[in-house]
């Protein structure tokens, strides 16, 4: 057990460094090939070279290796690692704010959104999956299958915009016209976009849109897993022992079937963060996803890389924890 954990931790280090280097190299290439992002700050006006130079210097884009196309900028990479690991400094944006500050501001919103999304996909996804799995081939099974797959096939940005316009604006305005509906429902939950006054209520619908994407996978995974387990020997044994159907399904089948589903949900946090890029933009949630989209649109690669590096660290850590947890739960793994 201990050896497995240590081995896994040792593997973690090169992965983190490799990922960070990949990101570093990509941004260096971006600046080498597409020019100084500071220039775009001035738009149609051509700034005096001295001013451009000063701002560039302050943002740390002044390193000469950024002028040589293809140069991997190892020096800059080492500086960056030092800043990250010793000073917890992920760089600054074009407006001279620390990326760590930007992320700290944005993180609470994204976390709330993620929690809502994950809860939604877990509850609805597992319920749908269990229904479908227990009655494989039935009408319910097909209904769940078609509806979940349909949700996957609609691009999330179309889904988001349609929900915003029809649920948030059209339906919400009808609700807001009714006196008897409490504000928290009409103004909060059905707000077209994120609202400061209702920081949790107004995130429910965006969270559901975000969760909808993985909902399908959760449901399908549960279905597969249930269908496998229901044929397993230990379930047959349980039935043979004369246990009630309820107990067989509820305790024996479900508990075992949910292991892969729950691990999936854990890993899905990373994917959901990426999905937040679109959802947050559409619903104006001031979270990390909107930050990344905005920075990508304005060419602020320093922010994109800073934020993505942080996210990747989180994802990798989550993977590491899930693996270790898995090893604890499943004895086959640690003796591999």
């Amino acid at each position: 057990m201990g050896r497995y954990v240590i081995r896994r931790l040792l593997q973690f280090i090169p992965t983190v460094l490799g990922t960070m280097f990949l990101l570093h190299y990509i941004t260096s290439l971006a600046i080498q090939f597409s020019g100084n992002p500071v220039r775009a700050l001035f738009g149609d006006r051509t700034p005096p070279p001295a001013l451009l130079e000063a701002i560039t210097e302050r943002l740390g884009y002044g390193d000469p290796c950024l002028d040589q196309r293809g140069n991997p900028c190892f020096g800059l990479f080492l500086d960056r690692l030092q800043n990250i690991f010793f000073h917890f400094d992920f760089g600054i944006n074009l407006r001279q704010r620390d990326v760590t500050d930007l992320v700290a501001d944005a993180l609470p919103f994204t976390l709330k959104l993620l929690v809502i999304a994950i809860v939604f996909e877990a509850v609805v996804g597992i319920a749908a999956g269990v229904l479908a799995g227990l009655r494989g081939g039935s009408f319910t099974d097909y209904l769940v299958k078609i509806s979940t797959v349909f949700v996957i096939s609609v691009p999330i940005f179309v889904l988001g915009v349609v929900v915003r316009e029809f649920v948030g604006v059209k339906f919400g305005n009808v609700l807001r016209g009714q006196e008897w509906i409490p504000d928290v429902i009409s103004v909060g939950v059905f707000a077209p976009v994120f609202k400061q006054e209702y920081p949790l209520a107004s995130l429910i619908i965006p969270g559901m849109v975000l969760g909808a994407v993985s909902l399908a996978t959760t449901a399908r995974l549960t279905r597969t897993s249930i269908m496998e387990n229901i044929r397993a020997d230990y379930v047959r044994t349980a039935r043979a022992k004369g246990l009630t159907n309820k107990r067989v399904i509820g305790v024996h089948t479900l508990r075992n079937s949910l292991i892969p589903v729950i691990t999936f949900l854990g890993v899905d946090i990373g994917a959901a963060m990426a999905g937040a890029v679109v959802t947050e933009t559409i619903f104006n949630v001031p979270g990390i996803g909107r930050l990344v989209t905005f920075s990508a649109r304005t060419g602020e690669s320093s922010v994109v890389v800073g934020v993505v590096t942080m996210l990747v660290l989180v994802v990798l850590l989550a993977n590491l924890l899930v693996d270790i947890l898995y090893a604890v739960l499943d004895p086959r793994i640690r003796y591999e």
């Binding site: 990509i26 597409s34 996957i152 899930v322």
Partner: protein
Amino acid sequence: MSDLTSAGAAIGGAPVAGDGPTTDAPGGSGKERSASLWADARRQLVRDPVFMIAFLYILVVGSMAAFPKLWTSQDPRNCDTARSRIAPSGEHPFGFDILGCDYYSHAIYGARPSMVIAIMATTAIVVFGGVLGLLAGYYGGWVDTIISRVMDIFFSLPFLLGAIVFLTVIKRQNVWTIAMVLFLLAWPTIARIIRGSVISSKDLDYVHAAKAVGARNGRIMFRHILPNAIAPMLVYATIVLGSFVAAEATLTFLGVGLQPPAQSWGIMISTHQVYFLEDPWLLLFPCGLLVGTVLSFILMGDALRDALDPKFR
């Protein structure tokens, strides 16, 4: 686009990163049995109406992509702003877009980039991911460690974020570069599936037997081990084709996908989504085609899995 990685998870079994063994690789089946497996599968698929409908739909879309002239004689680039956003009529079944180009012929010609990107990227991940997964699973040890770490590096980049980062750097946003980015970000999943199924089948008796009679590594890998991995790979590849078609549209929406005057469903959707309250058909036609395609691929993948996995019989 979490469906990209997660779709793989749903098929490959254990979705966990790292070294967890994949649990539901198809049971070890010899050459003879696998032949009958495929025959069985074919029989079952032909009888499955969902699969056949999806298959026919893909054939239709495929023919649009390959031979657009079969479907329309109009030139999608023949535009006139005077005809901007005219509603569908008998002669122009999809109406005109905002620049006054015939929307139907646009949609037909738009099938090609979407399909070409999906097919190229999928072929690439199957070949590249397959080979790396095979090597990692078969040799284990250092080879496995290195390949697994590289997989982890790419795997840790959330799909959309990674695509944004790559595509803003590459600049040349055409069919080739988008296919390449999709490939770069998606190959680890398939490599992992193959690796898992190779690990679970390399200790089987007939493999040991082949080794004992002195078969070379290459022969063992390709003749004895790989066939076991083909079923899950095929299923995953079918589903991933669908996700790639959808991914092209999402990337275009985020401003890092194909650029006009190229025509693709993604461009049609993201250009016209703002008009959907006024002129909903501008969004509905390309969206319908796209959703139909993605849906068909996923349903085909589902049916394939059910047919190929003996446990579901």
